[in-house]
């Protein structure tokens, strides 16, 4: 007799319970993925970064329009055109690291007793680029878009100084070559910005401090960054010209084949001359002789 009266309240209560539990879970699983859920300080950092970027882009647009103008007026004024090409070449030299550069900036020095992993170096580079570094080097290596950073284990047990057993020591490599201590990273840019980017609370220096690594940061009024010594040969990349592709697509099949043959022929020619040069660089690059003391 009692049972039917029981059912209703219990059902209601459990229903509520279920709803609340699910609400609870929802509140907890939701995680921030868009701007509305970011912290204020992060938003401020984004605004700052984006404003700087906008400013630089505006300057770039001015540069480009000047270049375009001098290009268009080249028939009258060849000198102007030369100057504009010179300016563009200088910018590209900085990006490609083809010549030695100087300027103010900071150095980050890591001594051999400081534990460091190659990913730390990657992170430091990343922070420096983010802080507006314009050119960076690690010891004698200019950092470019081809620079690789890795590590290798070297056996320190050699004939010259024998150890009781094999002792492998990790070394950091840049462009497949061991970098010797002290590792000195030089970066050209605003010294204050660059320093802050590394030392801000919770930044990379704080993270390294957890491992008892305290790289030495020095602000410099002028430092010299070497040119990139390694040669880069592009085997796979070629410039993409959408108009040409469309044209060849629209053409008859036979023409297409001809085009393909032509480009193939060109490519193989280019490759032949390049392979020789590559062979030379490869042998130079073969990185580490494990028996040699670094």
């Amino acid at each position: 007799m009692n049972k039917p009266r029981w059912y209703l309240p219990i059902t209601i209560v459990f229903l509520f319970l279920g709803i609340m539990l699910s609400l609870q879970f929802q509140a907890q699983t939701r995680y921030a993925n868009d701007l509305t859920l970011q912290k204020t300080e992060n938003l401020i950092a984004m605004v700052r970064g984006l404003s700087e970027k906008r400013q630089k882009l505006a300057l770039e647009i001015i540069d480009l329009s000047n270049q375009l103008r001098s290009q268009l007026e080249s028939s009258q004024d060849e000198q102007k055109l030369l100057e504009s090409i010179q300016l563009e070449t200088e910018k590209l030299e900085i990006v490609n690291g083809t010549v030695e550069h100087k300027g103010p900036g900071i150095t980050v020095t890591i001594e051999d007793y400081m534990p460091i992993y190659y990913t730390d170096i990657l992170n430091i580079l990343n922070e420096l680029w983010n802080a507006g570094a314009e050119a960076i080097s690690i010891n004698e290596h200019r950092v470019t878009s081809h620079t690789t950073i890795s590590s290798v284990k070297i056996n320190l047990n050699t004939e010259r100084n024998p150890l009781s057993e094999d002792f492998y020591m990790p070394y950091i490599t840049v462009n497949h070559r061991v970098v010797e201590y002290p590792i000195v990273m030089k970066a050209i840019g605003d010294p204050n910005n660059l320093e802050k980017a590394l030392t801000f609370p919770g930044g990379i220096m704080d993270k390294l401090a957890l491992f008892d690594t305290y790289p030495v940061i020095t602000k410099m009024e002028e430092l010299i960054i070497p040119a990139d010594q390694s040669s880069h040969i592009h085997f796979f990349v070629s410039e993409y010209k959408p108009e040409e592709e469309e044209a060849s697509k629209n053409n008859a099949d036979s023409k297409k084949e001809n085009n393909a043959k032509n480009t193939n022929a060109k490519n193989t020619n280019a490759k032949d001359s390049n392979t020789l040069r590559l062979e030379k660089t490869r042998t130079k690059l073969i990185p580490i002789n494990p028996n040699k003391k670094p």
Binding site: K39, N42, N130, S145
Partner: protein, 233 residues
């Protein structure tokens, strides 16, 4: 009826407990909302800036393309040499779109893992800037010749960096899934990444696909090349 009273009591207490709990979390949410109200201004600014930057980048892209066209037609005498070296340097620097053989890697956040462990730290399931940074380095070890993440070409000065938990490539927000395109020898690149970060990510059950392509197009760098401090020595 008598028997029912203690049971009822327990249920009431439980409900009360939950209600209180619910209210506290709702209060927290309310204060959070207040913060995001204040943040709304900042978000509007960010959206405006991003729109403007997108416009500027379009403009730069168009101007660079126009400049390239002009420079390839105007070739006579001593200018010709200068312009051929310039054209090469542009390809090297990443100012031109490029095409070639390569691979496309896509990585997404591990959403299934996140759903399966809702109380776990979501940071364990999302792709971080460091993952991408390491992947890019490994692709370079595998002799990648040109790399782009979600359509953003990487050049020497490019950075991949978290602000909060949003990944920015050169201050442009990129969202998962991340598509990394790399031109180079597919074999070398896959070998290089599968010994490193990718294996780690696969172990952690992130959804990853690798696709080889004979004809991969990577866009040009659309950002600035403004250098204030660097001089030729």
């Amino acid at each position: 009826m008598r028997k029912a009273i203690p049971t009822f009591l327990i249920i009431c207490i439980l409900t009360g407990f939950l209600l209180a709990f619910q209210f506290t979390t709702q209060n927290k949410n309310a204060s959070f909302n207040a913060v995001s109200q204040r943040n709304n201004n900042l978000i509007t600014i960010i959206h405006d800036l991003e729109k403007e930057i997108a416009n500027q980048e379009d403009q730069i892209e168009a101007m660079r393309a126009q400049l390239n066209d002009l420079q390839s037609t105007h070739s006579k005498g001593k200018l010709q040499d200068l312009q051929t070296t310039l054209a090469k340097a542009k390809v090297e620097a990443g100012l031109t779109p490029v095409v070639g053989k390569g691979i496309i890697i896509t990585i997404d956040d591990n959403q299934e893992g996140m759903k399966a462990n809702p109380n776990d730290d979501p940071n364990k399931y999302i792709v971080h800037d460091e993952h991408l940074l390491n992947l890019v380095n490994e692709l370079r070890i595998g002799s990648a010749e040109a790399i782009a993440i979600n359509g953003h070409r990487l050049i020497t000065t490019s950075e991949i960096r978290c602000v909060g938990n949003l990944i920015n490539v050169d201050m442009s927000r990129v969202a998962p899934p991340y598509e990394i395109r790399a031109i180079g020898s597919p074999k070398l690149m896959i070998e290089s990444i599968s010994m490193g970060k990718l294996a780690e990510l696969e172990n952690d059950n992130y959804p990853i696909t690798i696709e080889e392509s004979e004809h991969l197009v990577i866009p040009a760098y659309r950002g600035d090349l403004q250098f204030k401090y660097t001089n030729k020595s």
